[in-house]
């Protein structure tokens, strides 16, 4: 660095200092004290109005729930790209990520973690009055082959991969009828795909509803449905498009023009040998 540069550096530093604080005008950040009073006042005012607004909120339940009247469906493991699972049966590395994701997702469902939860009666809503809200157990064995208990690789190594489907949580949602998740598979050229669902029929028990919110219902476990691909033919590679949707409940929508995930979900599995 030449001397000249240094000097200009000092100059610019001085200019910056002047911009930060100008002793003659009392300007701070280029604005005078008077205007900082003004902005200070505005900031205080905004904080105050925000505070007033926050007072109108309830800690447990949002004021309005109109924009999520019906739940969306999501799947696990989380695919990397838009809802496409792609792996090779013979290469464990290719599905390792999926398995880890599933394991991670199922951690709260471990029997150890669930032991404090209530065992609820099947087939009825578990409405509660508080002040303490209890969560129902969701025993992992309901997922049978996809529970990961017997097959820690969730069927991926055998070419029968498991995908978990779940309904989004919505506070106060009480499904009518007997909701279940129905999945159909569509394989290119072949219609021999069979899909297995656990619990049987993809049933979702009403006892897991309603949900009372993160604060009141901290230990709540969502009911899950597992879908397992069961190929009869072994020609490779296989490409299956699976569509799942909620059926059997009047107040749970499974079709919306614009929302592709409202009560339904579609994903593709590409499986190589």
């Amino acid at each position: 660095m030449t001397k000249k540069d240094k000097k200009s550096f000092h100059q610019s530093l001085a200019e910056w200092k002047l911009f930060l604080y100008n002793p003659t005008t009392g300007a701070f950040l280029g604005r005078t004290a008077k205007s900082w009073v003004f902005y200070g006042f505005l900031a205080a005012l905004f904080t105050f109005t925000m505070w007033v607004m926050l007072q109108t909120l309830n800690d447990e339940v949002p004021k309005y729930r109109d924009q999520i009247s019906s739940p969306g469906l999501t799947v696990f493991p989380k695919p990397v790209t838009a809802l496409e699972y792609s792996f090779s049966v013979s290469e464990p590395e290719s599905y390792k990520g999926y398995i880890e994701d599933l394991k991670k997702f199922l951690t709260p469902y471990a029997s150890e973690a669930q032991k404090n939860l209530k065992v609820c009666t099947d087939g009825a809503l578990s409405e509660q009055k508080g002040p303490v809200y209890e969560a129902c157990q969701f025993p992992l064995n309901l997922l049978e082959a996809c529970s990961g208990e017997n097959d820690p690789e969730f069927g991926y190594s055998q070419g029968h991969p498991c995908i978990l489907v779940k309904m989004n949580r919505i506070i106060g949602l009480k499904p009518q009828g007997q909701p279940r998740i129905e999945c159909t598979g569509n394989s290119k050229g072949e219609n021999t795909t069979t899909l297995l669902a656990y619990p049987p029929e993809g049933n979702i028990d009403l006892k897991y509803f309603p949900y009372y919110g993160k604060k009141l219902h901290a230990s709540y476990l969502q009911p899950l449905v597992a879908v397992q691909l069961n190929y009869t033919a072994s020609s490779t590679p296989k490409e299956v498009t699976v569509e799942c949707k909620i059926v059997g409940s009047k107040n749970l929508k499974n079709y919306d023009d614009r929302d592709k995930f409202l009560g339904r979900v579609a994903f593709k599995i590409t499986m190589r040998a």
């Binding site: 205007s35 003004f38 902005y39 505005l42 005012l45 905004f46 109005t49 925000m50 607004m53 926050l54 109108t56 909120l57 447990e60 339940v61 949002p62 004021k63 309005y64 729930r65 109109d66 924009q67 999520i68 739940p71 969306g72 469906l73 999501t74 989380k78 695919p79 790209t81 838009a82 809802l83 779940k166 989004n168 949580r169 919505i170 506070i171 949900y211 919110g213 993160k214 604060k215 219902h217 709540y220 919306d256 614009r258 929302d259 592709k260 995930f261 409202l262 979900v265």
Partner: protein, 1039 residues
């Protein structure tokens, strides 16, 4: 010139010879001046062309030579075939209209002017962004394509709108300038035919008579008592006689050439067409005007300045945040999209269209007040005018001779000179008056055109020259039916006026059945008339004319002449019945009647009086800080008299000459600083250097330029512009067009103005009245103030539109306001209110302050930008953010959750995003909530813009001083805001492409406290401005 009879000006009668001399000396210089201008204004090639054309020698040729030159025959004219060939060769005999910018260029200019470039850039960036998206992901959403298209549409639509507005105002002009096609009486194929003047060709033989416009440049072949008015060419307002003799080398001076578009006042003539259309002298001068560049209007400069400010802010914030975004590890693609958002938020898309509408509304209002504006921007120019160079005749005056004073019985009487005089109130009981009135009525050849009994006397059309018309109307008012009186007093002989005799005489039988004497009446140049008299009538009695009565006569004559009036003397004589029996035959050539020892009756003086509204208008100009300079071709004495009577020279100010006369010292000894007024003649002006002219213009507040040629007007205008003044110039002649073009605002006269002048002007005064200019100034100033308000109003919400993007980029909250939504504010809810501000009344008397300084008083100044952007704008943003946060919080996303949520929020693959309460949202549900947020933010801005609109009604006064309800249009504006918002939220709520959703009614009121705060804050601001004028607050907070 006037030296022989100093301080006396009675041009028509005794000045004719002087006039001729003037012509000889002066006219040549005028011509030279014209050439000088050519040198200045045109390139060499064109100038040569002009010089060559003016070097025409047809006036020197004999009739035979002319016939040969133009292959025509003076008796039979051209043949139709010849004429058709020539017409095909030379084109029609009409001035080609000034070169117009092709419509497509005008249109394209609208497409790229102002903010359009920025928006185009935004649109192109959108398409590029989509291109990048598409190349990486074929299924990417078309949102960016839509946005780009919408932006392009906005540019195109506002462009079309601005183009349409301009075309509309030009059309008003076009319809206006359409004239009744002129006819010409031409001899072709030995037959007299009437053809449209456009079809004349060189060599045609045309006949003209009094009242006709000369249809082309013609060489006179025959003339009888022909007089022409060359004022539109030379500025010379006196009629000039024409004959077929070659009298001068200079084609402009010789009497045997008549010029295109000048008027033949009386007599008849036959002439050969020597030049047609653009090749006529007038045509060449008119095309000079196109050589003078059109100055950029002050408002155009202001708008450019404003566009620069806004574009500068937009680009610098845009680039700054682009860099910030990139360094925050946003993808470049996202950063580009942010850039677009910032540009769209910063550009007030609707503003330029609003300005156009506002200007055209004012233009309409001005048209109602007789100012027709051709160029919309001229509306404001008039408001910033600091010097008006006004014509005298017709603009300041009524453009008709009117009797102003009478002198009889040794007393001066004043006559009523107002526009609509119904009766004269001076003392009419004297016997002298009875005689005088009889002379006035009888010794007059002018007549009313028949069939005008119902028309007010002052408006009737008269056949006859200006003085005789004045006398006829005067006596009609005083005596009643003059025609009837003339019938009863049968005229037996008459000598018409001519410039050698300088008197007019007629002999009548009287209507007194007992008195059989003939009455001889005479009027003429006072001294000539007095020479012929030996007695004078006082109080109805004839008295011998002695020295003292002669003295009284001269004093009165001097006094009236000093007022710049034309003075006429009147005398009569009853011819003794024995010498002149009833059967006596009078012979005007032999003059077989007495021409001496007549009885002098009185004097009468006439002037073209000022319009009654003008003095008031001049006073207004003066209090408005506008200097009014009179520029006239008229005589200095008349000019000064009129200037004094209208107040251009105020009652107590003196010229150097006045002071010299008062102190009885030489002009050179007078301290120039004592003189406030100056009368500068064209002769003096010609010898002045630029610096000297500048000195005159700066050192005298009151200036009259007299005896100037229209060419000198251009010099005066340029001199004024060197003083940094915004100059308005009035003009009517073809020769005025360069000055009209050069002026910041050229004002043509609608009635007296030539087409060329109207073409060159920016504005046309429909009633030729100076007072209309002043109302125009008022409107122009008001519109400048109101445009400030409109711009302040519009700029405010730009901050509220910009902040969402900045917060979105930096804090990572879901986007609070969409780009399309911004367009709905700028081009939807905000349009009518910002136009409504144009209807705001002035806060104080805008005619009591100085014209704005072209370079210092900007339309958009620092206080305006700072106050709109950093005060009200910030307040508004906070208010809108409050609504936004309220909506999100009440739906489940508390502000703390929103921070840094952006990435997850916008991921299409995340369909179970958890809110503050543990609920999970699909992507579309979040999108819908985001749109609800847009709507909420939109409503927040809209509600506060209502407050903004109300505070912008005034800049200094309290709203309560201004009155909340005086401007009803404001309320229309507020209603339109609310209705558009209601439709967007509830009517189109389901059309998701527009990103609006139904918003709960209570959210409409969340921003109301902020709106009230804005109002209160602004009231406090205005209060401090009023309380502490000149303080820090006043300087920084008054825009």
């Amino acid at each position: 010139m006037g030296q022989k009879t100093p301080r006396i000006y009675s041009v028509e009668l005794n000045g004719a010879k002087d006039m001729k001399q003037t012509d000889k000396g002066d006219g040549k210089d005028k011509y030279r001046g014209l050439q000088d201008n050519c040198l200045e204004l045109r390139n060499n090639q064109r100038q040569e062309h002009l010089t060559k054309e003016i070097d025409l020698d047809d006036h020197k040729l004999s009739n035979k030579e002319l016939e040969t030159k133009y292959h025509t025959n003076i008796v039979t004219g051209l043949s139709s075939t010849q004429a058709a060939e020539l017409l095909a060769r030379d084109g029609p005999n009409a001035l080609s209209p000034p070169k117009e910018t092709p419509e497509i260029i005008k249109f394209l200019k609208q497409m790229v002017g102002g903010f359009s470039i920025l928006l185009w850039a935004g649109a192109i960036l959108c398409w590029i962004a989509y291109g990048i998206q598409y190349s990486s992901d074929k299924s990417s959403s078309l949102d960016n394509v839509y946005l780009g298209t919408v932006l392009a549409l906005v540019v195109i639509l506002t462009g079309i709108f601005a183009y349409y507005q301009e075309a509309k105002s030009t059309n008003i002009m076009a319809s206006f300038s359409k004239m009744i096609p002129q006819q010409a009486l031409v001899i072709r194929d030995s037959e007299k035919k009437i053809i449209p003047a456009e079809q004349l060709v060189v060599g045609d033989i045309v006949e003209i008579k009094g009242g006709d416009q000369i249809p082309a440049d013609i060489r006179l072949l025959f003339a009888q008592g022909c007089k022409v008015d060359n004022s539109s060419l030379t500025g010379e307002s006196e009629p000039q006689s024409r004959s077929c003799e070659f009298t001068h080398d200079d084609p402009l001076e010789t009497k045997n050439i008549g010029f295109y578009s000048t008027t033949c006042l009386e007599g008849t003539a036959t002439g050969m067409v020597i030049n047609t259309g653009d090749r006529t002298i007038i045509g060449q001068i008119a095309s000079l005007a196109s050589g003078v560049g059109n100055e950029k209007t002050p408002i155009a400069i202001e708008i450019k300045h404003f566009v620069h400010i806004v574009a500068g802010v937009a680009i610098s914030i845009g680039v700054l945040f682009f860099i910030i975004a990139v360094s925050m590890k946003y993808r470049v693609l996202d950063s580009i999209i942010f850039l677009i958002g910032i540009i769209v938020a910063n550009v007030p898309e609707g503003l330029l269209a609003t300005v156009t509408v506002t200007l055209s509304l004012t233009a309409k209002r001005m048209a109602k007040k007789n100012c027709l504006v051709k160029n919309l921007e001229a509306v404001e120019t008039l408001g910033s005018t600091s010097i008006i160079c006004s014509d005298k005749t017709g603009t300041l005056t009524q453009n008709r001779m009117t009797v102003a004073h009478l002198w009889f019985d040794n007393q001066i009487f004043m006559a009523d000179t107002s526009e609509d005089q119904l009766k004269q109130t001076f003392d009419q009981s004297s016997g002298t008056w009875a005689s005088l009135s009889k002379i006035i009525a009888l010794c007059n050849r002018a007549e009313f055109r028949p069939g005008q009994e119902r028309v007010p006397i002052m408006k009737r059309v008269v056949v006859g020259d200006a003085s005789e018309t004045a006398l006829l109307k005067f006596s009609e008012v005083v005596l009643g039916d003059v025609m009837e009186i003339r019938k009863r007093n049968h005229k037996v002989a008459e000598i018409p006026f001519n410039s050698t005799n300088k008197f007019q005489l007629s002999i009548h039988k009287t209507d007194d059945p007992i008195d059989k004497r003939f009455l001889m009446v005479m009027k003429g140049a006072p001294e000539k008339v007095l020479e012929k008299c030996s007695t004078i009538m006082v109080n109805g009695q004839e008295q011998p004319l002695n020295n003292s009565t002669a003295e009284a006569f001269y004093t009165a004559y001097m006094e009236l002449g000093g007022l710049g009036e034309r003075v006429l003397g009147f005398c009569h004589l009853y011819l003794p019945a024995d010498e002149f029996p009833e059967t006596y035959s009078f012979d005007v050539d032999a003059m077989n009647f007495p021409m001496s020892d007549l009885c002098f009756v009185g004097l009468l003086s006439m002037i073209d009086p000022p319009r009654s509204t003008v003095p008031d208008a001049i006073t207004k100009c003066r209090s408005a800080g506008i200097k009014v300079i009179m520029v006239t071709g008229d005589h200095p004495i008349t000019a000064k008299a009129i200037a004094k009577s209208v107040g251009i020279i105020s009652a107590n100010s003196e010229t150097v000459e006045d002071i010299a006369k008062r102190l009885n010292i030489a002009v050179e000894q007078v301290n120039k600083q004592d003189a406030k007024a100056a009368v500068v003649t064209g002769m003096e002006l010609k010898d002045m250097s630029e610096d000297q002219l500048d000195e005159v213009l700066t050192s005298y507040p009151e200036i009259v330029f007299a005896r100037t040629s229209p060419q000198q007007k251009l010099i005066i205008v340029e001199g004024c512009q060197r003083q940094d003044a915004v100059v308005a110039v009035t003009g009517d002649g073809v020769n005025d067009s360069p000055a009209l073009k050069k002026a910041d605002i050229g004002i043509a006269m609608g009635i007296a103005g030539s087409d060329a002048a109207k073409n060159a002007a920016d504005m046309v005064l429909l009633d030729d009245n100076f007072a209309s200019i002043v109302t125009g100034v008022e409107e122009g100033r008001l519109i400048f103030d109101n445009l400030k308000k409109t711009i302040a109003y519009t700029l405010t919400k730009n901050i509220a539109e910009l902040c969402p993007f900045l917060i979105y980029i930096i804090v990572g909250v879901p986007l609070p306001l969409g780009t399309i939504t911004i367009l709905f504010i700028d081009l939807g809810t905000d349009i009518v209110p910002s136009i409504a501000l144009a209807y705001e009344k002035a806060e104080s008397d805008i005619m009591n302050r100085k014209p704005r300084h072209k370079k210092e008083d900007r339309l958009v100044n620092k206080p305006l930008a700072v106050y709109s952007y950093l005060h009200i704008g910030i307040m508004q943003s906070l208010g809108a953010f409050l609504v936004y946060f309220t909506v999100y919080a009440q739906e489940g996303f508390r502000p703390s959750t929103l921070i840094n949520l952006r990435v997850e929020w916008e991921k299409d693959s995340v369909n179970n995003l958890e809110d503050s309460y543990g609920q999970e949202w699909t992507r579309y549900q979040r999108k819908y909530l985001e749109w609800t947020g847009y709507t909420a933010f939109f409503i927040g801005i809209m509600v506060q813009q209502i407050a903004d609109l109300i505070i912008r009604k005034t800049r200094r006064n309290s709203i309560f001083q201004q009155g909340l309800f005086r401007n009803k249009v404001i309320w229309v504006g507020i209603a339109s805001q609310i209705i558009i918002a209601l439709i967007l939220s509830y009517g189109l709520g389901s059309i998701t492409a527009l990103n609006f959703t139904m918003l709960r009614p209570q959210y409409w009121f969340v921003a109301v406290p902020h709106a009230i705060l804005i109002w209160v804050y602004d009231e406090v601001r205005k209060l401090f401005i009023r309380l502490y004028p000149g303080s820090w607050w006043d300087k920084n907070m008054y825009y």
